[in-house]
């Protein structure tokens, strides 16, 4: 199970890092929650996120907006992922806690540590038996975002 979830994390990160954004919502259940927040907000129980989607359709809409609507300089991410710490949850669900580090490279080659933090995931099997994210709370260590957050974390 650990390997299956680690593989899901790796595949999801690859979709974001390789520019295959359209593949990314497919790692979530139709009915899901994806939220990007920060450690400070998380600890205080603040509900709002930098990105907040309560359905796979909203994730697809974000990808569509990034492709068709939003303006941002060409950039790419590199996700470095830790080993998921997994625990069995109720009804066959699994919770996983995975550290991440994202380096952002801009079109001119400038690189920065854009974000570090932890994914707090709840995973369930979809109809086909594969693990999918039912919930992914992206808790960034820093509350400071450089310029803008375009590509999801």
């Amino acid at each position: 199970m650990l390997m299956e979830i680690a593989a899901l994390n790796a595949a999801s990160a690859r979709a974001l890092d390789s520019g295959k954004l359209e593949d990314w919502p497919g790692f979530f259940l139709d009915d899901c929650l994806y939220k990007v927040t920060t450690a400070d907000n998380y600890e205080k129980g603040y509900q709002a996120g930098l990105i907040y989607a309560d359905s796979k359709a909203m994730l697809a809409d974000r990808v569509l907006a990034l492709r068709e609507a939003n303006i941002y300089e060409r950039q790419r991410y590199r996700h470095i992922l830790g080993i998921p710490l997994i625990e069995a949850g109720p009804d066959g669900a699994v919770t996983a806690e995975t550290s991440f580090l994202v380096v952002r490279t801009m079109r001119d080659g400038q690189m920065m540590v854009f974000a570090t933090g932890v994914y707090l995931d709840t995973l369930k099997r979809d109809a086909g038996g594969g693990w999918r994210y039912a919930e992914r709370i992206v808790v960034c260590d820093s509350q400071r975002i450089d310029t803008l957050l375009a590509i999801p974390l």
Binding site: A48, D54, A60, R62, A65, N70, D146, T147, L148, L149
Partner: protein
Amino acid sequence: MDQHVHNPAGAWPPGLTRIPFWVYRDADIARDEQTRVFEGPGWHYLCLEIDVPGIGDYRTTMMGGMPVVVARAEDGEVVAFENRCAHRGSLICLDDGGRVKDFHCVYHAWRYDLRGNLASIAFRRGVNGQGGMPDDFDMTRHGPRKLRVTMQCGLVFGTLSAETPDFESYIGHEVMVRLRRVVHKKVEVIGRFTQQLPCNWKLYMENVRDTYHASLLHTFFTTFKITRLSQGGGVMVSENGVAHASTTLAAAKGPDTTYAGLRADNQELKLRDPTFMNAVPEFDDNINLQILSIFPGFILQQIHNALAVRQIVPRGVDSMDLHWTYLGFADDTPELRAMRLKQANLAGPAGFVSMEDGAVGGFVQRGIAAADGESAIVEMGGSGAEGAETRATEASVRGFWKAWRAQMGI
């Protein structure tokens, strides 16, 4: 004209329709802005009243480059003072906020009461009869600078200047009505984020007041008819240029060809989950969107149900922090709160309609790197800084410069 302010590229062009680019790049200007603008005769947003709900509660904030403590004193009054120990200048408070009995500087344990008065000095009488402060050292004459504070609609504003007029005179009655419209009952914080922008702080505030760009730069706005200049609405600017409020009314039904052919018009874009745009009615009018600003660094945002306060903090000539406080009301229904969380996607560092604002100031900052002798053009809608029934104008940007030049003496 006040020759004190450094002007590396000659006189300011006449009128309000040209902005010389050196004002975004000059270190002397930035230093003068601290004393003349951020410590000058204006009201500066500090924090929310609910950030300091009880006696001894404090919150740290900034007034330009000046660190500030806001605290609630024993008598319930909200006070503010410079976050700087009178002794060696260290920060007095090191955290974002908390609750204390009094304040201690960690360096040499100088102690302050909740109003920022110096209350005691460690080893003031020395140790074993030796050392200590001189007998004539007068503690009442030493302490961090104190601000005057005003509370408006649950927002705390402060000023260092004795000349700052009362709040409503500063922002004007019209904008005051717009402020009261949004923050009309007890707010609740639902998120706090900081966005670091690679530009001079003035470029961001101009962007906020620039009603012309919104539907052109931000495709998301236009395509989903959240705002178009052809929708009803307008902009108001206070007489002194200090405050502005722009509004967009709900879209009329039927096709709209105003933007045909422009990049921002993309009728093919369809949301798969359009429920995200089903705003819950909460204001007693048909205003979809209202952006309000108060010079120099305060912004109040209502984009449908997405409410936020934004505070500008300059960090050198070519960098600034934008502190976002996402708001709800304490009595939000679960339905309304859920919609706020969804519509929070519209604004903020990852906002569908505002992420570009985080970058565009940097595009200007980089574009003008060698243009100290050149000027920006702000001539849409004429040369004045009065309000208008249209948003196809740069009147509010000119208002910003009216206020800036008055305070800077340029």
